[in-house]
Symmetry: C2
């Protein structure tokens, strides 16, 4: 901290938008942690990327592990709102599946890339937080599994075990943000279309 | 190190199987690093899991980063031998694709689970090693891309961009070891069959 400690507190703290600023810092921290790795990314790196002094950064968070928890919490909350809550009332399982995949991809293409990748770093969290996140992931998987089981009951699923099919679908859509920024030739909507075709082609009968 | 430093050097060092023992230690270290996370896993944890003193462990490796490099090198060498070299002479792209997927899955189900997952931790390596591993990964992706382009030229690929399809296929088969041990109900051959159906169903016309 040292010489930087005398700087003024960040403005956000005084105008009521501290929560927004914290979220913004989490998105920046997610990018830094993803690029450098959780181990190598320092609070100095994160502060610099967020245009904060290290002391300023500690105004918003107690440390790197706290930031990681907040990042994963943001990603899970996005999935819970944009995917589970947005799709849970769609009665037809085929329409629901399509919307689940589309909304999940949109969460990534709308700018949440690194945030969504870091859900894999759940092992870096203390035990209580880790248990909470694993349970939320399990609920998301269960929602997708249930949809595939309904499709199976309706004879719309290919000759697949619905539970394993759900895991394979998860691999595809959770793996997507890892390569998304490496391939800049297609637009978000073209990429979405490609992932829809791949996953629905894998899952549904013609 | 301290009180453990006076122990005898490991037996493997004197009977010519030091390389085998190092590989064995890497597999153990991979499991520990995967379970605890690279940051949290200590050399003490790894030594304990490998039935070595910490001093004994340092006989085989210069440290955790060296272990991580060796682990990723083992995983990439497995893929290069068991997948690329084993499939490169298969002329028919459809037969080649099937064998690529089958051999990739076999690398995981034959016991290399955590080793294959940790290729994602490439960002924790020093720059030169990181560059080397990323290039080897790129060559593997290029091999799969080429196969899908050939299938596309033959009219066997669904209406998909072959390059994006290769990335989606990679997500599915690289994501598989993350869930493999969590679902113990199906046998390795049943799981292989399920992943073959999912990926080939996604990629190939009926």
């Amino acid at each position: 901290v040292g010489t930087q400690v005398s700087k003024l507190p960040p403005k956000a703290a005084t105008n009521g938008s501290a929560e927004d600023r914290t979220a913004e810092i989490c998105f920046t921290a997610a990018r830094v942690i993803y690029e450098k790795g959780y181990d190598a990314a320092s609070m100095n790196d994160i502060a610099a990327a967020a245009n904060l002094t290290k002391a300023g950064l500690y105004y918003y968070t107690t440390g790197k592990q706290d930031l990681l928890y907040r990042i994963i919490d943001i990603a899970m909350s996005m999935v819970e709102q944009n995917v589970i809550q947005a799709c849970i009332d769609i009665a037809d399982p085929e329409a629901r599946l399509e919307q689940i995949i589309r909304n999940h991809i949109a969460t990534v293409t709308d700018g949440a890339g690194a945030v969504t990748i870091l859900t894999d770093e759940v092992n870096c969290l203390p035990s209580e937080q880790r248990t909470e996140i694993i349970e939320r992931k399990r609920q998301y998987l269960e929602f997708v599994r249930q949809t595939l089981r309904e499709l199976n009951d309706k004879g719309r699923l290919r000759d697949l075990d619905p539970d394993i099919a759900a895991l394979n679908l998860f691999s595809t859509i959770l793996g997507f943000p890892r390569w998304y920024h490496q391939d800049g030739q297609l637009s978000p909507s073209e990429i979405t279309e490609q992932i829809m075709r791949f996953t629905l082609g894998a899952l549904l009968k013609e």
